[in-house]
Amino acid sequence: MSSSRFVITVIGLDRVGIVAGISRVMAEHRVNIADIRQTIMNDLFTMIMLAEVTGENFDLSAFQEAMSGIGQELGVEVIVKHEDVFRFMHRI
């Protein structure tokens, strides 16, 4: 793998606490935010983050589960994918 960078997408109905909730879980797993883009259109909240993991022994499944869990609590869909997926698909 070329890096430990992930793209995290958060999509759902806007409400108080989404950014706070998501970034809390990321901090707990020592995942750093390298870039962040966010739009709120009418009631739809969309956030895309480029996240970075620097330490060894990063437990990806635990992180994905935790993100999925906070997503459910907040009523939003959280998807974590390695950045290669997007680089490969959209660039030659």
């Binding site: 999509i11 994918k81 290669d84 680089r87 698909m89 959209h90 660039r91």
Partner: protein, 453 residues
Amino acid sequence: MIIHPEEILETIKMVSSQHLDIRTITMGINLRGCSHPDIATFNENIYSRIMRAAENLVKTTTEIQDIYGIPIINRRISVTPIAIVAEACQTDDLVSVAETLDRAAREVGIDFIGGFSALVQKGMTPGDLRLIQSIPLALASTQKVCSSINVATTKAGINMDAVAMMGHIIKETAELTRDQNGLGCAKLVIFANAPDDNPFMAGAFHGIGEPDCVINVGVSGPGVVNSAVRALENPSLGDIAECIKKTAFKITRMGEMAGREVARRLNAQFGVLDLSLAPTPAVGDSVAAILEAMGLESCGTHGTTAALALLNDAVKKGGAMASSSVGGLSGAFIPVSEDEGMIRAVQRGSLSLDKLEAMTSVCSVGLDMIAVPGDTPASTLSAIIADEMAIGMINKKTTAVRIIPAPGTKVGDMVEFGGLLGTAPVMPVHNFSSEIFISRGGRIPAPIQSLTN
């Protein structure tokens, strides 16, 4: 390199709602070192070889699936054609070999193992004959083993003795799996110009000329192509071709990415990416639906062959750019039982066996997963095979037949195979006889197209 948010959301949507997935990661394993005159030793050898090579296959593909978030639907194994590696065995039948392959497949945790195969386009060796005669019992007594027989090539012509024999073998296989609606036949493919590196079942085998261990990937995504075409506003056929090409590129890139990483982690060579658009019975994941999106009222009506030609070509062009190493079948699949649009088209009366035969001349697979009445004569099955082999031979392409004469059924019945194998509507065949033609035997000679030097 900046990826735009719209692109990110496009990828997410492809996976979440449009059925983008990697259809199969198939490990090709060379068994040539396992040959032994004693069948018990031979079976031990192939079992150990497969277990050693594939012990981490499921674990590694699951890791990749989690990291990338692209579902990897199937893990499979293909082996060197058993007729070749078992040629030296002093035994009357090779059913025990199929049972060994089945056991290895279950231990490794995969769903299908292909390669109970023989290549007989010019003629049969004793080993080839032994294997072919073992097929019905082998497929009836195992669950995961798939078999394929190559009976024709452009360079060799068509072995009509083998074609005649395979008609009977198919009937026998159907009869022995009668209680499962002839399911054995869903695991048997007859080929012309079979590729050495096809990752899809039931025709996968690890060809001669391939390395010791290889990872081949089959992607899929008819759902993604379907959505993309339907989103266009009043397109010309050129616009549709362009759209399919771009979409095929994106789909194929996923396979390239996953395949390379799996190969790296398993210390195997990355073989090929097969760009085929393989449908599933899930709603929206249909190749027929793409043809209908192009403007045909029902798949199988006039214009279907042209539409499929456009689709097949666009998929290849987009896919070729996406991968350094494209191979296998690489085109559109038209398996009737595995495509909900095809099933509907047959039931509606718009799709016939004759039209499917025409379609196979412009796409990659052949007459696939087709159920015909249980009383169809062996010679008719052979003649259907002969027609398909002729299309492949003359056009220098791969064609194949996977046909199921479901015992006790008649036209209009629906035969349930389950899972990815889907549900097949029983289709009519011509009632006029081909018996005398098939009984003549011999070889249809290689066509002039074969003289390419």
